[in-house]
């Protein structure tokens, strides 16, 4: 039983990465109607950014949490301005193919310079060690990841669903022409939204750097699962993707305990089941 509690907690930790990443995807899909396949590559860039900040500029983890999302976010906005914006009226497939291509290029460039085995990034001193919870040894850093990503997820949800800015955004997705007529610069807002979604991916990358190796393919390994999370949660639903992210982390964690061989397929089995029963996803509304 104790082991089970431990697995639940571990699942929650992985879930926070799924949640952060699928949230970014949901924001981008919801507002821009683009299936952002470059998300994994941008997550990887976030981790690399943290590595460079530490090893070249001597800037620590805490600043990296702030700087990396901004740097990668700006990179994302440049992508949106120069390439993605031209796809706005077209079929989803175009956006998917373009972002997939961008992801391959980014990963290829990083792999060419840094190889595949990755670079070390140590846990910041303040978050080292762990505490004994009785049923498991919880590394402080993992606890921090859960709390921090939960806060970020809820803040993003609040920003989009409950504030004036969020209302503009949602309105601009529904009817861009009308919102423009009110004097709001819709293209700029969309660029900023893409930047926000990308920034969330980079933030997840920084959070993950001390746990996983900083590797060019770290995003490619994760992104497929995250897409399954978004599909299960319902494309474009903010709260849906947060909840599904955490929930699937827990389910995956339990699978690792009861039948580890299936741990990297369980998410997709669930995806198939959900698509069969409710094709719009658990929280999605019919289009």
């Amino acid at each position: 039983m104790q082991a089970l509690y431990a697995q639940l907690l571990v699942g929650l930790i992985n879930g926070s990465f799924y949640a952060l990443l699928s949230l970014g995807l949901a924001v981008i899909f919801g507002m821009l109607n683009i299936i952002n396949f470059a998300h994994g590559a941008l997550y990887m860039m976030g981790a690399f950014c943290a590595y460079f900040l530490l090893n070249i500029a001597g800037i620590n983890y805490w600043w990296a949490l702030l700087i990396a999302p901004i740097v990668v976010g700006i990179f994302g906005m440049i992508l949106e301005r120069t390439m993605l914006q031209w796809l706005s009226g077209l079929d989803h497939v175009y956006g998917l193919l373009l972002t997939f291509g961008i992801a391959l290029i980014i990963q290829g460039v990083f792999q060419n310079y840094f190889g595949s085995s990755g670079l070390p990034y140590q846990i910041p001193d303040a978050l080292r060690g762990g505490m004994n919870l009785g049923f498991m040894f919880l590394p402080i850093y993992r606890g921090w990841v859960v709390v921090f990503s939960l806060v970020i997820c809820l803040a993003t949800w609040f920003l989009i669903e409950k504030t004036q800015l969020g209302a503009y955004l949602r309105a601009a997705t529904e009817n861009p022409t009308l919102v423009r007529a009110f004097g709001i610069n819709v293209p700029r807002m969309i660029t900023l939204t893409y930047g926000l979604g990308v920034g969330l991916a980079a933030l997840a990358g920084v959070l993950s750097a001390p746990i996983n190796q900083v590797r060019p393919l770290m995003g490619a390994d994760l992104i497929i699962v995250v897409f399954a999370v978004v599909v299960i949660g319902g494309m474009g639903s903010i709260m849906g993707s947060i909840i599904t992210g955490f929930a699937l982390g827990v389910i995956e964690g339990l699978t690792k305990y009861f039948y580890p061989e299936a741990s990297n397929t369980v998410v997709f089995v669930l995806m198939v089941l959900v698509l069969l029963v409710k094709p719009t996803g658990l929280t999605g509304r019919a289009a």
């Binding site: 992985n14 190889g115 746990i211 996983n212």
Partner: protein
């Protein structure tokens, strides 16, 4: 009618022509370096193995003697079906004579069958499974660098003898992990130890915390990592995070490469014991080779033992070709010749290729240095013990290889 006759004549002429070619001493060789070029094993094999193959060609001196030798490379993406398709195409279309490297035991075993069917030569350096020279041995295969039996006996035995008598395995869920776990378990039980449990994880897993918690709660003294590459580095890194080592359990990285230690950093990797058959900083010869390799490799990386094995294996292959006076394009014939010449090279020292295709040479038990002990960017290991060549690998009496029962 006229056309048909001329076609027949042409056919006859061609038959004679090709027969004539085969009689003359053919001095062309085509080498295929098949590896994981972009995934988790690409740093320990990959482009570095292709470079090692090219260096072997250049250093052989055969080019100056009028030989024409080409090296091509392929990416098997860690998928057995892709690996065997490339191998087939290489033999059928590209007329490749020899396939080298092939990390990933699953792919290695698939390619093993193709090479036998096509009567090519196969010098495997990257894969670990001892089955290549045991149950699944072929007259076309030489397994050069290391194998699971050797890893199990060297590292496993050393750990059990120093008191690590209870084990829990984290095993990569494919041919390699299974073979390594099987061979290590045999060593543990033979030395009076016990395996308390095992968990099989999918290849290329990024989060090991669930598995590590299971290992932790097993209370085993040693947690054996029967995985490789990125899986091993992630296990080690996360084990440190979950306080496994500070809690008194010891990690046994059964297979650890130079590139893994580089990726982990000495801070995390220090104190780990593991076995390799080559390290760049062993003696003047290995240092000279590694320096030349480093000047041409990506990020100036030192060669891993897999890459060194590609080089040394090919050098020995060229010796056999020279002794034959040309390339007979007959895999069994060349491999038989390779087995009849004792091996000797700058990187692995003296040894031999046994009748089952196993190349034997000394194995070294290393320990990762503390950050304070390291003097340079690749100064990672200190030598703990040397296992002589004749004790490091499967004794022929225990091998189930069919070639031994002639």
């Amino acid at each position: 009618m006229k056309n048909r006759i001329s076609a027949l004549l042409l056919g006859t002429a061609l038959t004679f022509a090709s027969a004539g070619l085969a009689l003359a001493q053919d001095k062309t060789v085509k080498i295929g370096a098949l590896s994981d070029q972009s995934g988790l094993y690409s740093d320990l094999g990959g482009p570095g193995s292709t470079l090692a193959a090219q260096m072997a060609v250049e250093d052989s001196g055969l080019l100056a003697k009028g030989w024409k030798i080409d090296v091509i490379s392929g990416d098997h993406q860690n998928k057995p079906d892709i690996g065997s398709t490339i191998a087939r195409q290489w033999f059928d279309v590209d007329k490749v004579d020899i396939i080298v490297d092939v990390p990933n035991s699953g792919v290695a075993l698939a390619v093993n069958n193709v090479v036998k069917e096509k009567n090519g030569v196969y010098i495997n350096s990257g894969a670990a499974t001892s089955d290549l020279t045991n149950a699944q041995c072929t007259p076309n295969t030489v397994h050069w660098t290391y194998d699971t039996y050797m890893l199990a006996h060297s590292t496993g035995q050393a750990l059990v003898k120093s008191g690590g008598d209870t084990w829990f395995f984290l095993t990569a869920d494919y041919a390699f992990g299974a073979a390594l776990e099987r061979d290590t378990t045999a060593v543990i039980t033979a030395n009076g130890g016990k395996v308390l449990g095992t968990v099989k994880h999918p290849l290329n897993t990024s989060d090991f915390s669930s598995f590590l918690l299971q290992a932790q709660s097993s209370k085993a003294k040693i947690i054996g990592l029967a995985n490789a590459g990125g899986d091993t580095t992630n296990s080690i890194k996360q084990a440190a995070e979950f306080g496994i080592v500070s809690g008194g359990q010891k990690l046994a990285a059964l297979l650890l490469f130079l590139t893994d230690v580089k990726a982990l950093g000495l801070e995390t990797a220090q104190g780990l014991n593991f076995t390799e058959t080559f390290y760049w900083d062993m003696n003047d010869q290995t240092r000279t080779f590694s320096k030349r390799f480093g000047e041409r490799s990506k990020n100036h990386a030192m060669p891993s033992m897999v890459q060194a094995g590609v080089y040394a294996g090919l050098r020995h292959y060229f010796k056999a070709l020279e002794a034959l006076g040309g390339n007979p394009h007959d895999g069994v014939k060349v491999v038989d010749k390779m087995k009849s010449i004792p091996t000797e090279d700058d990187l692995f020292g003296k040894g031999e290729i046994q009748p089952n295709g196993r190349a034997i040479h000394p194995a070294y038990l290393f320990e990762v240095k503390k950050p304070s002990e390291s003097k340079g960017p690749w100064d990672f290991y200190k030598l703990v013990a040397t296992v002589p060549a004749d004790q490091a690998f499967t004794p022929l009496s225990e091998s189930k290889c069919a070639l031994l029962k002639k």
